[in-house]
Symmetry: C2
Subunit: 506 residues, 2 copies
């Protein structure tokens, strides 16, 4: 694994190593970094301050970009009438979806128990996504070409009942943003789809330091009803893919279903072309599994709730009287500087906890920079600095230099995280697998130290894609950067013109 | 009504005047300002960009203050197990509450229809508030006095089924923040309750320009389970009160119910003292009914999605070629200045709509400043400026001066809105009503031009409070500023030491 101490096994801060038990390591990092926990409701999580702070910093950036690209935020209802779901479900027979269904609007006491009462005439569904509700509004709002484009977004909770929930990755309730747009023509709607996928790529790579492969989904992996689904795919440290954001060109399909039409410049009536796109709290799972190491989380400085944690070291009250104000002063100086376009976030940890435990708690949480400050440091005008990307490299810095160079240090940590993740990912994308036997052998091993993606020619047939099922492998995307020469499909040996990314996935 | 043209009736931009039909005026302002609308789900609204933008600016300010006062954001589940609600409902018999109840987790197709399937072993309730869920977490998180205080907040949607919904004021789903804190002792918890009520007062008055009366609720108006409920009460332009934010000291009641206890410094075990406090999208209703006039909404500059709207005036393409870039340049200059601690928000409206209609659309939306910019203005280096607080006072300004003075102009509009609202409110708080006959006569008239609050002595008895019921009057609060001398209860004539605020209310 990347970032793992080489050589003989060493004791790590996380009880399970990535190599020994990746899923257990993942759960343990979340627990030790105090990011989230399961609640009393199956599949619904409690997101704690460190986890939610990361989400807020992701949100702030993405929301700013959503607005800068011309979108406005709205809010649509949590509940969807059953009739609307039926209208969209073109082929109702065979339809079965995991959704929370509200059937009553009251609780009453009966024999010392509370029971549902006030049965609704027609059940309501807790939104799993809002195409249907927003489509209803679009149909009302849009009359003429002058009303177009309509470019809106909402930040919301959605519910998709999960039988096998996992914190952040698969929860019955999750948080996300969903963008929905309506356009006069196909070209503009396709451009919108591409713009937002590029925003997601930039969010992942430039803000979260998570390298991704951008591309188009195969037909079978499309969002139901979409003409095209575009995706960014990240590689976790167990070699599996995590779909990290999607952008759909919906053609006129949803416009037909919801009757979203407009009078065009010539007085004729046309149906709109619509798009939708979303990123969710699942992205936090991607951050953990991309950047975490066997000592816990490592948070990219761009989104760390505290970028710098200052630990005052004082054995007695006399020392504390010197050190605590100095720590506050240092934090104030740091918080007066700017990095990544925002004010720097430094925090003084004054908890009554012993120094070693305190330092390790922040290593496990992945604070980018930890600063220890004791009386001797004050005498010497220095601070003892640990970068989370090099926890063995604790070293003194002149305090003034530390403040002056804080932006460079944070940027350097950010760059290191991206470079490490990219080197890891690039090394695990196999481009040398040419036939189905080698392909099967590769995906059968399931070795956390070698598994990853295969990039190879694919003949774009549904039949060849179906034969991946028994391997639990999927086509993640047809990446945008494609070879110019034709080749041979890695599954069938048939002629093929395009590369696909094959992987096991979350 | 305040801000209404005096003298003979004039045509107004809103179809109903406040005087003629206040409820119809309210609905019409929301429609004409394009803030929100009803959805296909009874009681659930769609908040449109202009309404949601106002909410976002309110949120940003309050969120900042919540953090500056030491709280951290979290996220707790949407669903609450029925058993938890039962646990909190001390007296289950007689309990009946309007809540959305989830009973199934799947939809399946049957005879061409979708029907609920996958019945839950035990129903789930969509949160009406989160004391129960958060209490469960607090009980897990808190072990020792070292873990205290726990100071958290969440921004969330909540659902309370409404039989008679009204946009923003009473909706089945609404958005809010709910703060929840746990403390080692009563004194600290009471201080927290007071701190957050003061934050709400400051939010209302200093940010939203809505004057409020801060005080404590009477026992019958307390949040169920609270030891004390504190409130800010605003007066709408029909003289009715709108409760605009509440902060509860919950004593140890919820701690007992949820078993939230800690080991104190002496090794003993104590129950925590907890608080909760919230502000919701209802506040947008308060903004409309405090600042709106017969020409529509007037948005305080602090929270206006666009503080300045620039209307390029161009009759032909040649003019447009000069005016449009100049408008963009002006907006860029304005957006490079700062007001109320944030970057100024100017917007150029380039829609293909005739000039008059365009100007009125922004008057109805209540944009604080409207700027018209045509070729002649460019020749003269001027802009034509309308302040929403004085729409008859359209006047030219030198363009450079306009940019230089933008902060002062926005601050002046903000101050005007507050002063007008305060003068209106102060004039409508009757302090001269001394006996119950005069009191009844006052509240019976229901005249939108004279009705308001009564401030008078109250004997603090449940009996006297109960006699208000037939008048549809409630005690809004016992205000913090109290007389020093005793007096006589306005209802009973009994001796009384405290003033109460009496009003009809939303």
């Amino acid at each position: 694994m990347s970032n793992k101490p080489q050589g003989k096994p060493t004791k790590t801060a996380i009880r399970f190593t990535r190599e020994a038990d990746f899923p257990a390591w993942y759960q343990e990092v979340i627990k030790e970094a105090d990011m989230a926990e399961n609640s009393g409701v199956r599949g619904c999580m409690v997101i704690k301050p460190w986890g939610f702070g990361i989400w807020e910093n992701l949100q702030r950036r993405l929301d700013q970009r959503i607005k800068e690209t011309g979108h406005q935020n709205c809010y649509f209802p949590l509940f969807i009438p059953l009739e609307l779901i039926e209208k969209e479900a073109a082929h109702v027979e065979g339809f079965a979806k995991e959704m929370a269904v509200v059937t009553h609007h009251r609780l009453v006491a009966k024999d010392g128990k509370l029971v549902p009462d006030g049965k609704l005439d027609s059940p309501l569904v807790v939104r799993p996504t809002s195409e249907t509700m927003i489509g209803e509004s679009f149909a009302k709002w849009i009359r003429s070409y002058r009303d177009l484009p309509v470019l809106i977004n909402q930040w919301a909770n959605v519910v998709r009942w999960e039988m096998r929930p996992r914190l952040f990755l698969r929860t019955s309730e999750f948080l996300w943003q969903e963008g929905h747009t309506a356009h006069a023509d196909e070209q503009e709607a396709r451009a919108e789809t591409a713009t937002m996928l590029e925003e997601y790529r930039a969010l992942a790579e430039d803000w979260l330091a998570v390298p991704v492969i951008a591309g188009e989904k195969s037909a079978s992996e499309r969002f139901p009803g979409a003409v095209e689904t575009h995706t960014i795919e990240a590689m976790m440290q167990d070699g599996k893919a995590l779909q990290s954001g999607t952008s759909h060109y919906l053609g006129q399909n949803f416009a037909h279903a919801a009757d979203i039409k407009f009078q065009d410049k010539d007085g004729g009536e046309s149906f709109c072309h619509t798009t939708s796109w979303g990123v969710s709290t699942r992205m936090i799972g991607a951050i953990i599994m991309t950047h975490g190491d066997d000592d816990g989380l490592r948070v990219p400085p761009t989104i760390a709730p505290h970028q710098i944690v200052i630990l005052p070291i004082a054995r007695d009250e006399e020392a504390a009287a010197r050190v605590l104000p100095a720590a506050d002063e240092l934090a104030a100086k740091l918080n007066n500087t700017v990095a990544f376009g925002n004010v720097v976030r430094a925090h003084v940890d004054k908890r009554e906890v012993n120094a070693g435990e305190k330092r390790w708690s922040w290593i496990k949480k992945g604070a980018p920079i930890i600063v220890e400050l004791g009386p001797r440091d004050l005498d010497q005008g220095t601070v003892m600095v640990t970068h989370r990307t090099d926890i063995g490299g604790k070293a003194p810095q002149q305090m003034d230099d530390f403040v002056t160079n804080i932006r460079e240090q944070l940027e350097s940590i950010q760059a290191t995280l991206f470079q490490q993740a990219k080197a890891y990912r690039d090394a695990r994308v196999r481009t040398d697998i040419q036939d189905f036997e080698a392909f099967k052998a590769y995906f059968k091993t399931d070795d956390v130290n070698t598994s990853g993606f295969v990039r190879a020619y694919w003949d774009e047939s549904a039949e060849s894609e179906a034969s991946l099922k028994e391997l639990a492998v999927t086509i993640r995307c047809l990446p945008y950067d494609q070879p110019t020469a034709p080749g041979v499909c890695v599954i069938t040996g048939n002629p093929a013109t395009k590369h696909a990314i094959f992987a096991k996935a979350y």
